[in-house]
Amino acid sequence: MRRVGTVAASIAGFAGIVALHAGGAPSLPGATAPPAPASSASGTTKPGTTTPGATKVPTTTAVPVTGTAVGTREQYGYGVLAVKVTEQSGHITDVTVASLQTAEQYSQNLAQQVIPMLRSEVLSVQSDRINAISGATYTSEAYAASIQSALDALAAK
């Protein structure tokens, strides 16, 4: 299932999408954050921006890492989102979704595309330090195009 489309896969790109869709945003009950300006998504990437009482983290389990901050809840056009960012030595090392409410199924589909990209953009650049990929079983045909086949080729050198 490939659903990678026209959405830019970076935090900066995500901010652009926020700006693009903010005008048509459905208003959500209980949404306290103002409509997000283009800079708000990147604003959440700095540790220490946690707003006390802005949100609790209801479902995401805390991961034992240092330098983590949960951003404020932002209205991103189709729902309300808070991201959790981990920083080490001035580099973003991890981005996860701390909380997410979407208004409707369409929003959920969109969120599935956009939000994981925040994180995968960070993690896809370090594949040379990975030994293998665990995932749902692929067919022997799908293997040819998989990261595992690339890792096999790399390890065989």
Partner: protein, 253 residues
């Protein structure tokens, strides 16, 4: 590092072997015999061929006391996994009769890895279509670093885990709906990906399947799996990990 990939059981098995003191020729021969063993297990367990012992057992043409020893051992593992998963993994509740598919591939990987261990190689990893078992340490590092595939982007990772035993991942993003809730027959779930880390890959494999079909009860089940640790990604984008999951620290260069 000796690397070999073998198509078997409808997927691809990758071998990464660090021979150490074991002569390269000998290590290569052991990999070849591990591949032969995988094809033997496929012949026993496949449900795609009517004449296989598993198909004959399912059709009532083979009694339980007449099945090959491999099937007896797989059934014992299935019972263990059913108990650990609180019934969310239940091969006896599948339509069409007993179906241990959710466990057999993981078990086959551990059987293949065991042959390499007995041969005395320094370190090895076997990846059976995404289910992985390891021993020893890869070059220059202490733990094997395993990327968990991103459920919505085939070329990206959701996270990186460090393991010294085994990890299995289940989900429906590769081959569509094929998992069944043993309690109500449902085949659509809001858990996109479930990974289980532990010592025995057969059990990891079964528990990963259990966590997907347990759906909204998965996050709670993930925290009560004994010595097994779990990491889930739900369709709403939330992630859940039990306390013993070891995330590798990522770095951006």
């Amino acid at each position: 590092m000796i690397v070999l990939a073998e198509a078997v059981m409808g997927t691809m098995f990758s071998f990464h072997v660090e021979p150490g003191e074991c002569p390269t020729g000998e290590a290569t021969a052991v990999i070849a015999s591990a591949c032969t063993r995988l094809h033997e297990l496929d012949t026993i367990f496949t449900t795609w061929r009517q004449e296989s012992p598993m198909s004959r057992f399912r059709a009532g043409l083979l009694r339980r006391d007449g099945v090959p020893g491999e099937m007896t051992r797989a059934m014992a593992l299935c019972e263990e996994a059913r108990a650990l998963s609180k019934g969310w993994f239940d091969p006896w509740a599948m339509p069409g009769g007993f179906d241990p598919t959710g466990l057999v591939k993981g078990w086959a990987v551990s059987e293949a890895l065991e042959l390499l261990r007995l041969a005395g190689v320094k370190a090895a990893m076997v990846n059976g279509g995404g289910d992985i078992s390891v021993f020893g340490s890869p070059e220059e590092t202490t733990a094997w670093r395993i990327g968990i595939r991103h459920p919505w982007r085939s070329e990206a990772l959701a996270c990186v885990l460090e393991i010294d035993g085994a990890v299995a991942t289940s989900g429906c993003y590769e081959r569509g709906p094929h998992l069944i809730n043993p309690k109500d027959g449902r085949m659509m779930f809001d858990t996109a990906s479930a990974s289980v880390v532990g010592a025995n890959l057969a059990i990891c494999d079964a528990l990963a399947t259990a966590l997907v079909v347990a759906d909204e009860e998965g996050p709670q089940l993930a925290r009560s799996l004994g010595d097994y640790e779990a990491y889930l990604i739900r369709n709403d984008g939330t992630e859940h990990a039990s306390s013993g999951i070891v995330f590798a620290s990522a770095s951006v260069r």
